[in-house]
């Protein structure tokens, strides 16, 4: 039986680029089919019915039709436009960081509803607390988990012994934590403090709401950010483009808070 010419899906718009005279090429992550790249015909015209529905960080219900190489977007019904994220520079920066990682880790024609739900939940958490860093740490760790890349946090990846309290090391390429006795050669290894290990386990176990009231000092926050960002970047196999602007925004916000 031939595939149907039209279909519907629920998706989150990740990025858009111009195509031809008045079209847009939209990349969005759907619950049903994973990442989809599709053409929105005439969407750059101000009177197009699609205008405003295809901005990045918009969750919607898409009516699609199949094309030869790319599919076409016929209609979009907005479910959540995350308007409060879009009216705050810190929120936009964090939202686009999430969108870049979903774009990087999501695969075409490969449904991953857990990743879709994670992205939507994270954007909701950013919308509720645009200044908090926890939604991003939660997203990074759970992104690895739903992609099958969750680092080992309970046993040494070299000797398989349970980790005991103390200073540990971490290796993204070996897939997790190393005990104080194991020191494999020719591998990038970084130190991992006990408080950081405990917070990583908490992030992995708990719902995001449990993390939000957690207060950590600047040193630990920086260690966690560098660690989770490093693991994600390692698996992405490229630099995260939106990270430098995100870091700049965070430095400026911190400067405002402490001066």
């Amino acid at each position: 039986m031939p595939a149907p010419r039209t279909y519907r899906c629920e998706g989150l718009t990740l990025r858009k680029s111009t195509l031809g005279e008045a079209d847009l090429l939209i990349t969005f992550f759907t619950k049903e089919q994973g990442k989809v790249r599709a053409v929105a015909k005439g969407a750059r015209r101000s009177t197009s019915k699609l205008v405003g529905h295809l901005e990045p960080l918009t969750q919607g219900r898409f009516s699609m039709s199949t094309g030869k190489s790319l599919d076409y977007i016929n209609q979009v019904q907005i479910i959540n436009s995350f308007s409060e994220i879009k009216s705050d520079l810190a929120g936009v920066t964090k939202g686009l960081y999430v969108a870049e990682l979903v774009d990087g880790f999501g695969a075409e024609a490969n449904a991953n509803p857990a990743l879709f739900n994670l992205a939507v939940d994270t954007l909701q958490a950013i919308q509720n607390s645009p200044e908090s860093e926890w939604p991003l740490r939660f997203f990074e760790i759970h992104l690895l988990a739903v992609s099958g890349l969750m680092p080992e946090l309970y046993q040494c990846v070299e000797c398989n012994q349970d980790l005991s309290p103390g200073e540990h090391r971490f290796s993204p390429s070996l897939g997790g934590t190393l005990c104080s006795n194991c020191l494999p050669e020719n591998t990038y290894i970084r130190p991992l403090s006990l408080p950081a290990l405990k917070v990583l386990r908490l992030i992995h176990r708990g719902p995001i709401a449990e993390l939000m009231p957690l207060n950590v000092d600047d040193h630990l926050a920086e260690e966690l950010k560098s660690l989770t960002g490093g693991i994600v970047s390692y698996w992405l196999e490229r630099e995260i483009r939106s990270k430098s602007f995100l870091d700049q925004m965070q430095r400026e916000t911190r400067g405002q808070v402490y001066t």
Partner: protein, 204 residues
């Protein structure tokens, strides 16, 4: 094999096809069609095209004031004494200046950013003409700055960035109204546009 546009073509023709193929939106087949069209053109028309490309690459510079593309600095708008020197309009692209000039609504000066902040594409503030904007705002005594970036996520982020980094707070900062396009329809308007149109409603 794929790098050779047309193995049997004369070297000069193959080179033309290869160069045309580098243009955005021009694939190998379109490049071949354009190359054969140029060959069939009368000599003077083909040379006029080559001269135009040559002249644009030699003469076009950034205006020191507005950063727009121009063949002189200051450009004709910055050098015009009849323009309102107190008002500055910030736009993303040179084409936006043309669009605003067509309306004849604004008689002040412009500043062209040459893009918008787009972290996901690796475009940050340093890639735009923002340093030049802030320097211009420090050196000049503008009474109003109209931020006319596109009403997109990137355009709004750029506007928010400019607002946050203004060197002085005495300037009045405005941005273009958001709302319904002429010829549009309420039924198909997205929630954000409709709510902003409602907020910006005017007395009849």
């Amino acid at each position: 094999m794929t790098n050779d546009p047309l193995p049997s073509a004369a070297p000069s023709l193959a080179r033309l096809i290869q160069e045309l193929n580098k243009l955005p939106g021009i694939g190998p087949k379109s490049a071949q069609r354009l190359a054969y069209y140029i060959i069939r053109l009368p000599k003077e028309e083909a040379f006029a095209l080559a001269d135009a490309v040559n002249a644009v690459k030699h003469n076009i510079i950034f205006c020191n004031g507005c950063q727009n593309l121009s063949d002189a600095t200051p450009c004709s708008i910055c050098a015009d004494p009849r323009r309102n020197q107190d008002s500055l309009c910030v736009v993303e692209d040179p084409l936006d200046v043309l669009a605003l000039e067509r309306t004849r609504c604004f008689r002040g000066l412009y500043h062209v950013l040459h893009g918008a902040i787009s972290p996901i594409n690796g475009i940050g503030p340093d890639q735009l003409k923002l340093k030049e904007l802030f320097a211009r705002l420090s050196e000049n005594d503008f009474s109003e700055m109209v931020i006319a970036t596109n009403p997109t996520l990137e355009g709004e982020a750029t506007a928010m960035y400019i607002r946050r980094h203004l060197p002085n707070n005495t300037i009045k900062v405005t941005h273009l109204a958001r709302g319904l396009p002429v010829g549009g329809s309420l039924e198909y308007t997205d929630d954000m546009t409709l709510s902003r149109a409602f907020q910006g409603r005017q007395e009849l």
